[in-house]
């Protein structure tokens, strides 16, 4: 009973932190389950995938309702994230746990450094998976922009159809490559892969940040599903642990999306970086032990 409540609280904490800071809960769930509850890494990754699917489905519904996510672009790219995730899900069972722990340590360090660099950035610049906040000003602006009368350019080609009224998608090839990598990373590490997809879409493909974030969220569901099925059928998901953790993440992310505008994220971000670095150190010790 106590363990169940602890898992629920851990999931809620991961979902809350992830939602407030615009990162997926996966980055925290895997270390929480391995270091905190002693679960094998593969099981933790499988459960984390379930959690990111839940958060993605809830968030994607809202983003689509608000017409911020680009459904055509998301579906086109998620074909490749799903391929990457399928390969990653199969490879994960062949790789030694220490290698995966080493990769996860590198991921934690990368996220910590990225967060330090972005310290001055606006909180409305999520890079991973997040639930949309209620009444988010920049999102309303983005929605309004996207909903203006269509530009003069008629939608003729496939790329035109993937583009929005105020932006034209470019360098689809880079998007495809980035999506495959994001899918592999998602399957190996139990994350949504937004850390790769959002920069690729925004910086390389010319998609506005808010649309890229929403579209990435939309894609996470199928990406994680492609590998979660493999984990599920190969015994990589423990239902007794997965259920309370997923419920906790869902509740935590929902609360986080509602209170994000009232929280001073600078302090929270500093705390999060400290947690990430500590977790990275613990994971590194585990990898080299």
């Amino acid at each position: 009973m106590i363990e169940g409540l602890l898992l629920l609280a851990a999931g809620a904490g991961a979902g809350l932190f992830g939602s407030l800071l615009g990162l997926g809960g996966g980055i925290l769930i895997v270390p929480l389950l391995t270091l905190g509850f002693g679960l094998p890494l593969l099981t933790a990754v499988g459960i984390s995938l379930i959690c990111v699917i839940v958060t993605s489905s809830a968030a994607a519904g809202v983003f689509l309702e608000r017409r911020v996510a680009n459904l055509r672009l998301g579906m086109t790219l998620e074909l490749f994230t799903a391929c990457g995730a399928m390969v990653g899900g199969l490879v994960a069972f062949l790789l030694p746990a220490r290698l995966l722990e080493g990769l996860f340590t590198a991921l934690l360090m990368y996220v910590a450094i990225t967060m330090v660099r972005r310290r001055e950035a606006s909180p409305a610049e999520p890079v991973g998976q997040t639930l949309p906040g209620a009444g988010d000003e920049s999102e309303r602006e983005a929605a309004a922009r996207a909903l203006r009368p269509p530009a003069e350019r008629p939608a003729r080609s496939f790329v035109d159809r993937l583009s929005g009224p105020e932006y034209r998608v470019r360098r689809i090839g880079f998007g495809v490559i980035g999506s495959v990598f994001a899918g592999v990373a998602s399957a190996l590490l139990g994350i949504g892969g937004g850390l790769i997809k959002v920069p690729v879409m925004h910086v390389v493909m010319g998609v506005p940040l808010r649309v890229a974030t929403a579209t990435s969220n939309l894609m996470i569901g199928i990406t994680a599903s492609a590998s979660a099925i493999i984990y599920l059928l190969r015994g990589g998901i423990d239902p007794y642990v997965a259920a309370p953790t997923a419920i906790g993440v869902f509740v935590g992310a929902s609360v986080g999306s509602r209170i994000a505008s009232r929280i001073d994220l600078r302090v929270l971000r500093g705390l999060f970086v400290a947690i990430l670095l500590y977790t990275a150190w613990q994971m590194l010790q585990r990898a080299i032990a």
């Binding site: 009973m1 169940g4 898992l7 379930i50 699917i53 839940v54 993605s56 489905s57 809830a58 994607a60 519904g61 809202v62 689509l64 309702e65 608000r66 017409r67 459904l71 055509r72 579906m75 086109t76 074909l79 799903a82 391929c83 399928m86 899900g89 199969l90 069972f93 639930l131 949309p132 906040g133 209620a134 009444g135 309303r140 929605a143 309004a144 909903l147 009368p149 159809r161 569901g221 199928i222 599903s225 492609a226 979660a228 099925i229 493999i230 599920l232 059928l233 190969r234 998901i237 239902p239 007794y240 642990v241 997965a242 259920a243 309370p244 997923a246 419920i247 869902f250 999306s257 509602r258």
Partner: protein, 141 residues
């Protein structure tokens, strides 16, 4: 959660949404239907998992005691007998199936709109998911 009521958009945004909907009501309707599907799928999944967790507590099962592996043939009997594993596995299947259901709905929507390229992409995504299932089952055996 704000899946069904996305936090209350401002009047200008919702007004603009209406404007766009009138320009392309088919696409707006498709996205609205998919949004509803994702919201409903999420709530059903979480509901099933919550029932499973309550039954676990009722049966005195600790979450770290090691859950049973997935076995499709046991799903029905476990649900009928109100065993936690049945609801937990059904909930987890619902979690994994919700995004695939979204793609299937997109396939139907785009096919109705005559967008062959998008319909073909949806078919390919579903094929990748089916391949994942097939490969996992083959490796399991």
């Amino acid at each position: 959660m704000t899946a069904s009521n996305p936090g209350g958009l401002s009047g200008s945004a919702t007004g603009a949404a209406s404007a766009r909907s009138s320009q392309d009501p088919g696409l707006a309707g498709l996205e609205h239907s998919i949004a509803r599907l994702l919201g409903v799928g999420t709530y059903i999944s979480i509901g099933l998992l919550a029932v499973g967790v309550v039954l676990m507590a009722g049966h005195g099962i600790g979450p770290l005691s090691g859950g049973p592996p997935f076995d499709l043939t046991r799903l029905g009997p476990d649900l009928i007998a109100l065993r936690p594993a049945g609801f937990l596995w059904l909930g987890l299947l619902a979690v994994v199936a919700t995004p695939a259901a979204r793609v299937a709905a997109s396939l139907v929507g785009y096919a109705r709109r005559g967008e062959r390229a998008m319909a073909a992409i949806a078919v390919l995504i579903l094929l990748v998911i089916a391949t994942s299932v097939g490969l996992a089952q083959a490796l399991q055996g």
